[in-house]
Amino acid sequence: MSGQDKRVQDAAHAPREDFVKGPTVIPFGPQHPVLPEPLHFDLLLEDEKVLGAIPQIGYIHRGLELLVEKRDFADYVHVAERICGICSFMHGMGYCEAVESLLGLPIPDRARYLRTFWCELERVHSHLLWMGLAADALGFESLFMAAWRTRELVLDVAEETAGGRVIFGSAIVGGVSKDPSDETLARCIKALALAREEVKRLSMVMLQNITVRHRLEGVGVLSADAAYALGAVGPMLRASGRAYDARSLGYAAYGEIGFETVVETAGDCMARAIVRAREIEQSFAIMDKVVAAIPAGPVSVPAKGMPPKGESFARLEQPRGEVVYYVRSNGTRNLERFRVRTPTFANVPAMVEAMRGSSLADVPTIVLTIDPCISCTER
């Protein structure tokens, strides 16, 4: 523990009478106007400057991983999908990818393309959700409403293709359960083109607005070395200049469709906002390519028999970064262990580092530009 970390911890647990002598400890969260989910920090301040922060989670732990011992492996995908209401499809899909790897079960090509389509759809609606929340926190109410109105167009496409707006319910072990026709997909691409134009406009408004720039530029800087050493993932890592995106592994149809990793180098809140804005644009392009190249054919294969004894990992790139799934089977229909390492869980140490040296007023902005998902984190 560094001297400063020790100082933070000592101060947070110091007797009340000691507070008047040294730095001030300010509790931040778990209820806070900028936090849609419960997260707490003990912020150690010297005047307005943040010297350090001690994070605290644990308010909504649900023990969903443990449920895998009591559910049939093929049915558990419904639980996995409910880990989070934003990355729901990707949680279901990640679980399926890990189980399919365990079973040695290749899925049909059309299913791989559909999974890619829904992953990118989810990335767009997640980043638009973030844009709205960030705008709201910065006092930019009109942008907040415009971002969420545009997000509705994306959710409509999710509903039309998958049947659900929040829980898609389309990932199953062996492929996908929904098969939108090529005509439906083409119609959805036209609808998404409208959303794409609107997002371009909104991104420009957000990123060029002088007040937004003033609040984001040079704030919450995280160096490339610190981001890497602390295990940061996703836009948090890429905004600090490290080009790692788990989609490069080529899962689903990313190997055929291809994409370019979005990287910024400033490492501040503005860089994280730019990465997300550029990723939205790229996701629309990926969905166009998927629909243009999607092959005909079945969308699932039956997952027969018991999963063999063994273990498997799966890694995906969620909107907030790399997520790691792990499954272990004991040869029965109930898996022995399911574990998810979510991106926010990995980003908490980097978030604390980004706060160090900032002003108290900037803490909400820094927290928001990490785009934390506590529902994922606590599972």
């Binding site: 644990g58 023990g63 602390l230 295990g231 592994l249 273990e311």
Partner: protein, 140 residues
Amino acid sequence: MTEQHNGSIIPIEIGALLPETDALRSAGWRLVQVLCVGSADGAELSYSFGLDLEMRSLRVTVPAETPLPSVTAIYPGAFLYENEIRDLFGVRIERIAGDWEGKVYDVAMGKLFSKVSIKAISSEDPGAATGGAASMGGAL
């Protein structure tokens, strides 16, 4: 692609954990995750590291009540994983830089994910091991 996802899993002894982890850190590997799987006589921890797209995991088997050194001196970001594993599995991880002292998850049933046999539970500490989901019986 499966091999790329799984990477290599290398079993090591507890004593080799810190030197091996330090060597990976020096070689530029990042910490991807720390995973714990409970068993009747302890737990198995897998420390996964990534370098570009490659993943490598060091696997340590820890008997019940055996102390395990923290890797936070090498990877400071590991503190959240280690606190969680200690709270949910009851693994005795020592010298965590950023020790939350068992307060990550304030759940009613302590060490909820532990699979340590009921015989190993101290009568003075009924929350020491719950037997995981097994103890929850038909409630689920």
